[in-house]
């Protein structure tokens, strides 16, 4: 059974909260957050990685109009890796691809889909690092703090429209939660984080969990 709680932020595996700006690029932030964690666990170095490279060079996805983590992992493998945020900084709109393989600091070997069982997801997270997930963003426009637990029909797992990163889990006053890193800046939510009920499949959090593989 997984530990009762876990938080990769306290273990140095999570970079600061970023801000996607007026652009539907959450998918890129969810994937770079996962790869940052995988690289940290494999190499012991935490690097802030480039989302702009994915916006500009992942030709399968649609930059600010949306994308899918599974396509993004493929694009990273095809391109030959990811540059750092400093080397390929975020602009928040599509540009011509200027990726340079010589500058790539991180590579991945594969990607995989994770279990839809939240108990198994917690065990995987505690052992293997932050997880890329996709959720229904119902109510997040007005979320300020606390553990969100919307009625299921209002936050249907069929209407997934946002990608984020699971960085930890635990209980607050006996209520189980996922600690979720969002990409809307630190002036939203709990310093950029969103807390969602764990164990009830809330908002489809368990339906599209995935991770890169770094051998």
């Amino acid at each position: 059974a997984p530990p009762p709680e876990w938080d990769w932020r306290s273990k140095g595996a999570v970079t600061k909260v970023k801000d996607q700006g007026m652009c539907g690029s959450c998918w890129a932030f969810s994937v770079t957050g996962n790869v940052e964690g995988q690289w940290f666990l494999k190499e012991g170095t935490l690097l802030s990685l480039s989302e702009q490279e994915l916006l500009d060079c992942d030709k399968v996805d649609k930059a600010c109009l949306g994308g899918l983590p599974s396509n993004a992992y493929s694009a990273i493998m095809t391109l030959g890796g990811l540059e750092t945020e400093d080397d390929y900084s975020y602009q928040g709109h599509l540009q011509a691809c200027s990726f340079s393989a010589k500058k790539a600091r991180v590579y991945i070997n594969d990607s995989m889909e994770l279990s839809q069982n939240e108990q198994k997801l917690a065990a995987w997270l505690a052992k293997k690092g932050p997880i890329s997930v996709a959720i229904n963003a119902f109510g997040m426009q007005f979320y300020r703090h606390g553990i969100s637990h919307p009625l299921r029909p209002l936050c249907s797992p069929w209407l997934i429209d946002h990608a984020v990163l699971l960085v930890g889990y635990g209980n607050r006053s006996g209520i189980p939660f996922w600690a979720i890193k969002n990409s809307w800046g630190t002036d939203w939510g709990e310093e950029g984080y969103y807390y969602l009920h764990r164990g009830s499949g809330a908002c489809g959090v368990n339906t599209m969990a995935s991770s890169a593989v770094v051998n």
Partner: protein, 250 residues
């Protein structure tokens, strides 16, 4: 009489000519930002009015006729002409209108098959529409306990002044600038409507979350979805990935 009946006693059916001004304002707000050929038209309208501060609060029910859309640059799939049933709350104070609430939904003319098993999704959407159905005058307890600003009778004397000061604080906090006075008025209407939406979401949350004013509070739901969300995620899963072994399998 209990407060609610007293409130309703003060609310009275409004004559059609009296409704036209608020109804046209609500339609103008609904059509804002739309090209000429894409604007909805006002169908039938009826409603009630009650005293509110220095003015009147109109609770309207109106049908809107949405024009057909065949232009793929505007609507991804062709949309035939459709009728919406809308509920609006318009505050008319000192000659100024403010749209406090807007709930619109398709007029459901289909009769679902009796006993037809509802998928989780269908049942959910039915529940959503019942939870968020056009606002009726006989407020149910949930909303009346949740929407203090709109349910005090009479409305606080300077309701729109209160709302204006909250909005002003929002503008300062999030360093908003609007190009024109009309834009600022429009954004305040959106902000006010969003306050009501946030309170509804709050009332229906089973966790400990707090909802309220955020940096997105002056965006309509459509704007927020279009700019910040990623509907591609629901359309397909993209490239199939292999399934990871569970930790216990390792």
């Amino acid at each position: 009489a209990p407060p609610r009946q007293a409130a309703d006693a003060q609310a009275r059916e409004a004559a059609y000519p009296e409704l036209l001004g608020p109804a046209r304002f609500a339609l103008e707000m609904y059509n804002r930002g739309r090209a000429a050929g894409r604007r909805a038209a006002l169908g039938a309208v009826r409603g009630r009015v009650r005293r509110a501060g220095h003015g009147s609060l109109f609770s309207l029910k109106a049908t809107l006729e949405e024009p057909p859309c065949n232009d793929p640059t505007v609507c991804q799939l062709p949309v035939s002409k459709k009728t919406l049933l809308c509920s609006f709350e318009v505050l008319d104070e000192l000659g100024k209108h403010m749209l406090l609430r807007r709930d619109c939904g398709p007029v459901d003319t289909k009769v679902t098959g009796a006993g037809k098993p509802k998928s989780d999704f269908t049942r959910g959407s039915a529940l959503i529409s019942s939870l968020f159905q056009p606002y009726s005058d006989d407020r149910n307890e949930t909303l009346s306990s949740v929407l203090p600003l709109l349910n005090k009778d009479p409305l606080p004397q300077d309701f729109s002044v209160k709302m204006a000061s909250v909005f002003k604080e929002f503008v300062t906090t999030y360093n908003r600038t609007y190009e024109t006075k009309e834009e600022a008025e429009w954004r305040m209407s959106v902000f006010s409507n969003n306050m009501v939406r946030a309170q509804k979401i709050q009332a229906l949350d089973r966790g400990t979350a707090q909802y309220g004013i955020t940096k997105f509070s002056d965006l309509t739901e459509e704007e927020f979805r279009t700019i910040y969300l990623n509907p591609l995620l629901r359309e397909n899963r993209g490239k199939k990935m292999r399934l990871a072994k569970s930790i216990s399998d390792h």
